[in-house]
Symmetry: C2
Subunit: 260 residues, 2 copies
Amino acid sequence: MKIGFIQNAPLFGDKERNFEGVRTLVKGVRADLLVLPELFATGYTFTSKAETLELAEDQSGRTADFLKEISLQTGATLVGGFIEIDKERVYNSLLIVSGNTVIDTYRKLHLFNKEHLWFTPGDKPLKVYNINGVRIGVMICFDWIFPEVCRTLALQGLQVLAHPSNLVLPYCQYAMVTRCIENRIFAITANRIGQEKRGEDDFTFTGGSLICGPDGTILASAPLDEPFVSVVEINENQADNKMITAYNDVLKDRRPEFYR
Amino acid sequence: MKIGFIQNAPLFGDKERNFEGVRTLVKGVRADLLVLPELFATGYTFTSKAETLELAEDQSGRTADFLKEISLQTGATLVGGFIEIDKERVYNSLLIVSGNTVIDTYRKLHLFNKEHLWFTPGDKPLKVYNINGVRIGVMICFDWIFPEVCRTLALQGLQVLAHPSNLVLPYCQYAMVTRCIENRIFAITANRIGQEKRGEDDFTFTGGSLICGPDGTILASAPLDEPFVSVVEINENQADNKMITAYNDVLKDRRPEFYR
């Protein structure tokens, strides 16, 4: 299958302009799974809860429509971040879209920094989706620092992880290699680039989106400061081989009776 | 406090020669905690269970005596690997020795590769020891690939992890940075160097012992192919600060109700 990331440079608050930027990036791209950054259409650096409310949508909003458009155009399942509103609660979420269908949303379980001021923590289970025969899981940005997230998905049979991000710390791209090795999975981290100076905050997003394989090999990576698309062909079944030696299955060797 | 590793080059089966090598390396060293590799006195590449039995000791054997000698000489608590025999079972273990006292042994929970043929898997809990006011935990080599090990120790208040190793894969030194970041701990990985060609196996050990801090900074590292000692001064209390942002405590932010 062909998997890829779209590293974009959103302008805060201007969804239509950001959709147009993604349209330009994916021109001519064909793939099976494409991952966009966290909050790829809204920007990240909010200064009030009102701002998140203004940009929030439900599962049938403008961003879902846009992802359907790109899914139909590229042939890929799309995973991308958006602000989700549900019963007056606002979440830092992502949409999983295949063709004309919204498969599900995921709501970030581990909020980062001031996201605690704007968003409600996720309340939906970590789940693996069988999409066209491939077992796909999702997490958002800071979820990476909790090894339990990838592990929970791997124990459900995860083959390919889609990981929309807005990274400002330099650790994650490095750590995703560890996540892939310890679970023997593929992972696609789609990060954004650019600077957002709003309110008291001034964030520079670190780009460097990457695709990593079950043995820790980096299969694709993006520059730190340019919009970028990368698609690689993988054999997702490699993620089903958990044997790191002839005697070691990294999942079955776990000894949960000794873990907290 | 001062923490360090001793990266040695054992000769298979010759404990006295290997003790002498360590004596030479630690000449003049003063520290609070010193970590030696896994099986630092015996070598690693066994060809039969009989070989492990021949080199096995209990907690009051020759290796314990040697570690007491080095502990008294350097002022440090010593952590180093040995083959432990207990009720006819043989374990890939380590000793924790302070002055004239054996504090405990730990038995590798996750055996690597053919170790499954020679050793009984560990049967003792992952535990944090309060040694002179510092909360120290231990694991052995391949235990690193299971994030649950460091996590279990971190949830018990771990400040400094001692990690005797005999690494043949290149992943671990890289992954220890992730382990430190995700738990905000100090870690000392003491690896060996050299080649062991015995039976059907031919292992080259990858050196590169390292000390890493709670923010992922590498505080000391060793060459890949030379015996080496490194001691650094740390403030172990930095490991008590789990705040990665003003809003994020990497342990308290866990959401175990969503984890398997």
